[in-house]
């Protein structure tokens, strides 16, 4: 029995325990939300730091993902003479899956890692301890603004990614391959349902924002306070948030009709 438990521990018990701790950490953050000038100002500063500075990466990536989708879709559809449907395929792929997932992956790599490293380094250099000793709550002052900024930024960044994807896709299909502009946009409008397609992407982006931001602040806050510990936590942020995101993507896709 002991052998079975020790075999199961790293496979099942440890992840469940971490999941529980992460959930409790989320509760500890949520109860600290106040509508005060200081907190709003701290969140806005972090939105600038982690959201706005991710904008260029998101825009460039979105543009090229849109172009690739159009290119692939156009080639396949051309075999059946259905190139007019490229707009609909582009919109559906972007809004339902690729927009939220790719934006969240890019965000985890660009902003999530920087949040983890920043908090982890503050811990390693005793800054969080100093704050605690000055009766300043590190969760309220350091962790919460970064978490909130991540949660609020990701849906907006997803919208920007989708917009750039559409621009990139239409540029390839309309300007390079000569698909009629009216048909391209008209088909997209006809085949995309606001609730079934567009809003699903919005729900996903909100959930992914929560997952990536929570993973980033949690791994940073509980990082081993050494150089290698912070490095490991940074890697963990990308790995854990990517896996969580893909699992939740499947769950949400199967649940939302």
């Amino acid at each position: 029995m002991q052998a079975v438990i020790s075999f199961m521990e790293p496979l099942f018990v440890a992840p469940i325990r971490r999941f529980g701790r992460g959930f409790l950490f989320l509760i500890r953050l949520l109860v600290r939300i106040r509508c005060s000038y200081r907190q709003i100002s701290a969140v806005l500063t972090q939105i600038h730091s982690i959201g706005t500075r991710s904008l260029l990466l998101i825009m460039v990536s979105g543009f090229f993902v849109g172009m690739v989708l159009s290119l692939q879709g156009y080639r396949e559809l051309a075999q059946f003479g259905a190139t007019d449907a490229v707009g609909a395929i582009l919109g559906l792929s972007l809004f339902r899956e690729l927009g939220p997932v790719l934006t969240a992956l890019l965000f985890a790599g660009r902003a999530g890692t920087s949040i983890t490293a920043e908090i982890g380094l503050m811990k390693a250099t005793d800054q969080l301890m100093a704050m605690d000793l000055m009766a300043i709550d590190p969760l309220t002052r350091v962790v919460l603004p970064r978490f909130m900024a991540g949660v609020l930024s990701l849906p907006v960044l997803t919208a920007v990614f989708n917009m750039m994807g559409l621009i990139g896709g239409s540029f390839y299909a309309v300007n390079i391959m000569g698909v009629d502009s009216g048909i391209f946009w008209g088909n997209m409008q006809a085949h995309i349902d606001l609730h079934a397609d567009f809003m699903v992407g919005v729900y996903k982006s909100v959930m992914f924002g929560l997952l990536v931001s929570l993973t980033a602040v949690y791994t940073g806050f509980y990082a081993v306070p050494t150089g290698s510990g912070v490095g490991r936590a940074t890697t963990q942020t990308v790995v854990v948030s990517a896996v969580l995101m893909l699992v939740f993507d499947f769950i949400m896709t199967s649940l939302i009709k």
């Binding site: 250099t125 800054q127 704050m131 000055m134 009766a135």
Partner: protein, 266 residues
């Protein structure tokens, strides 16, 4: 009669099965500067963490101004800490804030003051540590001694009743050490504070402390004024105060017999 700012009775603390502190009894009178000295790794910093409520003791009580720290809940603990100044060994300045913002942060958090007044207070504290001109610098632009002085200004900006110093003089050049000693003494006397200093710097504590406790092997092995400790007959105290190699305080970390490591158990 002077009352005690800190009163520690029968304090014990363990990490796992390892005893870090055992039967510690310390009294720190109000307005005094008391030093806790001892070799590295003896549990001095742990003692500070217990006094500031970062750790909970396994035995005994810690009273600070009549309040028992170890039974305080989160809110009461933060209220207690807002009257406490702490200078950590590395200064622990916030690296993304300027010197000005570092010193201003306790005022912004705990005192509802207009910005004009905050600026005056910050500048006056920085002036008292000789760094008024460094107000716009970032912590990365400061030397080790300057960072420690900024941290001192931050620790006393709210005029706390009690200041805890964790190895405040370690790794500093002699001029900075003398400057900091003078600053610590002046600040303590001018603001009528109480100071508890954790250090292993015997020579400097002779100049600074009113009373000293010496720790060895998880316990207090000697106490008295700096002059009394120089004449103390306890072997551990004599070894520490005179920096002797041979004595009851071992050089080697607890280990098995040497031949067991080299030749194996068999």
């Amino acid at each position: 009669m002077v009352s005690n700012a800190i009163k520690i009775k029968g304090l014990g603390f363990k990490r796992g099965s390892k005893t870090i502190l055992e039967d510690i009894n310390i009294e720190v009178p109000e307005g005094s500067m008391v030093a806790i000295m001892g070799p590295s790794g003896v549990g001095k910093t742990t003692l500070l963490q217990l006094i500031s409520g970062q750790l909970m003791p396994n035995a005994g009580t810690i009273e600070v101004y009549g309040q028992c720290v170890s039974t305080m809940r989160h809110r009461a603990l933060y209220k207690f800490r807002s009257n406490l100044g702490v200078l950590l060994q590395n200064g622990a300045l916030f690296t993304d804030l300027s010197v000005y913002e570092n010193v201003a942060i306790p005022l912004r958090e705990h005192a509802d003051l207009p910005e004009v007044l905050i600026r005056r207070l910050v500048l006056s504290k920085l002036h008292s540590v000789g760094l008024r001109r460094a107000v716009g610098l970032m912590p990365s632009e400061l030397s080790g001694g300057m960072a420690r002085r900024v941290a001192l200004a931050r620790a006393v900006v709210l005029d706390p009743k009690l200041v805890l110093y964790d190895e405040p003089l370690t790794g500093l050049d002699p001029i900075t050490v003398s400057t900091l000693i003078r600053l610590m003494r002046d600040t303590n006397d001018a603001l009528n504070m109480t100071s508890l200093i954790v250090t292993h710097d015997v020579d400097e504590m002779q100049k600074l402390a009113d009373y000293c406790y010496i720790m060895a092997g998880s316990r207090i092995v000697g106490e008295g004024t700096p002059e009394e400790l120089l004449r103390d007959e306890n072997e551990s105290v004599k070894q520490f105060v005179n920096g002797l190699v041979d004595g009851p305080v071992p050089f080697h970390y607890e280990a098995t017999e040497l031949h067991e490591d080299y030749l194996g158990q068999g």
